[in-house]
């Protein structure tokens, strides 16, 4: 595995449990993610992979266990939590671009409101980021005027504008038309190459093979298997993973 382990892992979950009512959605999860590592989380629906992703910036609170980012324990609520979230970029399945703001405003909002950076400089950088994800010409439009793939790339630029330490992707291509999936995956692949630490929940096995350092397979709220992509896809250890792979890789 191509690890760049320099001391502390960037993200560490230990003994994390979460319940939705009677349902034990996360069961004693331990996971460490190193700086620059790209971890892809896969698994059947309802396996808890999205929930796991969302606990990392506490969009989902946990019932027990501990999560820390860059050595700092995730606070419960309030300003400290907001400050920590600013360092964690998040890309959602349904894009969640601010509907009443232009594309450019979507990208500049965080740096201006949260980081209190100067507007001129923030806008210059935002335009660079929009160019980088290939939607530079759409800066003055509203989200609804863009295609799904374009919206998702704006969402990536919005997250990048905060200079995050780690980026979370919660099924970023699941709401996209097939022809738009690649334009988003290309952006993510180039991010991975640039050394961004990423946690990606996805069903895109091609992306997992291409860009991941590690594949984490979840089922029934547990991490069943964790291996580098080559090993995982060619020689899965658990029966559950074998079964899952046989269902999705056969067509």
């Amino acid at each position: 595995m191509t690890s760049r382990t320099a001391g502390e892992p960037l993200v560490r979950l230990s003994g994390v449990d979460k319940w939705f009512g009677q349902l034990h959605v996360l069961q004693d999860i331990d996971l460490s993610i190193d700086r620059g590592e790209v971890v892809v989380i896969i698994g059947p629906s309802g396996s808890g992979k999205s929930t796991l992703c969302r606990t990392i910036n506490r969009l989902e609170p946990i019932d027990s266990g501990e999560i820390s980012i860059d050595g700092e324990r995730l606070p419960e609520e309030g300003k400290q939590l907001a400050r920590l979230r600013a360092d964690v970029g998040m890309v959602f399945q349904s894009f969640n671009l601010f509907a009443h703001k232009t594309v450019l405003e979507n990208v500049t909002l965080g740096p201006i409101k949260v980081r209190k950076q100067a507007k001129g400089e923030v806008e210059r950088r935002a335009r660079q980021l929009l160019d980088r994800v290939g939607v530079g010409t759409q800066a003055d439009k509203y989200p609804a005027q863009l295609s799904g793939g374009q919206q998702q790339r704006v969402a990536i630029a919005r997250a990048l504008a905060m200079d995050p330490k780690v980026m979370l992707f919660d099924e970023p291509t699941s709401a996209l038309d097939p022809e738009m999936i690649n334009e988003v995956l290309d952006v993510m692949t180039s991010l991975a190459r640039d050394g961004m630490t990423m946690v990606v929940v996805t069903h895109e096995m091609g992306f997992a093979r291409r860009a991941a350092n590690r594949v984490v397979f979840m089922d029934g709220g547990r991490i069943v298997e964790s291996a580098d992509p080559e090993t995982f896809f060619t020689n899965p250890q658990s029966d559950r993973a074998k079964d899952f792979l046989s269902k999705i890789l056969n067509h």
């Binding site: 969009l59 609520e77 907001a82 979230r85 360092d87 970029g89 509907a99 949260v114 969402a155 919005r158």
Partner: protein, 216 residues
């Protein structure tokens, strides 16, 4: 007609009283209602409870009773508003704020939860996310229900007439009592006075609605 022009001073000042009752109370209710809805959707349980309590008390109490309490009940705790006009504004604002809060809350519920999630994920705190992301979108969808609240308020000002505030309804009572034969003329003038407030409001509401509509 002669009769109306003889009393135009009274009618005009009554119209202005009604208008300023409505506008002042409307603005106060909008501010108070916004604060209340902020509390009602906040993650802090005591704030939520307090706001819910407020809304249920004022939404379910007849406005006349609220007036009655502020005019005659508050003296028992040694409180007194400076003028009858201010007392009326207080009653109307406190009462209407509950409806503003609920109208706004329906708007907030109509904003997809992903919007607030994205705001929080960026590092905005609860207040920032409410002010910059959720409320601006909520206000757009609540223009029609807020319009209803405003028109109801404009008409509710007439209750002040029963508490010695000389508004349009009070002018109607006064003039009609003295000149029963002119009842129809006075009645028409007063109704026109209310329509002069509510009808342009309805047009304005439609205009604002079209102006702020967002594409989703």
């Amino acid at each position: 007609m002669q009769f109306l022009s003889d009393n135009s001073d009274l009618l005009w000042s009554a119209f202005l009283t009604t208008l300023s009752l409505a506008v002042t109370s409307g603005l106060c209710a909008l501010v108070l209602g916004t604060v209340l809805v902020g509390m009602r959707v906040s993650p802090v349980p005591p704030l939520r409870g307090l706001a819910t309590f407020y809304v249920e008390v004022f939404r379910n109490t007849p406005l006349t009773v609220v007036f009655f309490f502020l005019f005659f009940g508050l003296v028992y705790v040694d409180l007194q508003f400076p003028t009858r006009f201010v007392t009326a504004v207080a009653a109307l604002s406190l009462y209407t704020a509950a409806f503003v809060c609920e109208a706004l809350r329906s708007g907030i519920n109509a904003v997809p939860p992903g919007q607030a999630e994205a705001a929080r994920a960026l590092g905005l705190d609860f207040g920032q996310s409410l002010r910059t992301i959720v409320l601006p979108q909520a206000f757009r969808t609540v223009v029609p229900p807020l319009g209803n609240v405003w028109i109801a308020l404009a008409k509710n000002t007439s209750i002040a007439a029963g508490f010695a505030v000389t508004d349009l309804t009070a002018a109607l009572q006064r003039l009609a009592n003295v000149n029963a034969d002119q009842l129809l003329a006075v009645f028409a003038a007063v109704v026109l006075g209310y329509l002069a407030i509510t009808l342009p409001s309805a047009w304005l509401i439609r205009l604002i609605e079209n102006r702020v509509a967002i594409v989703r």
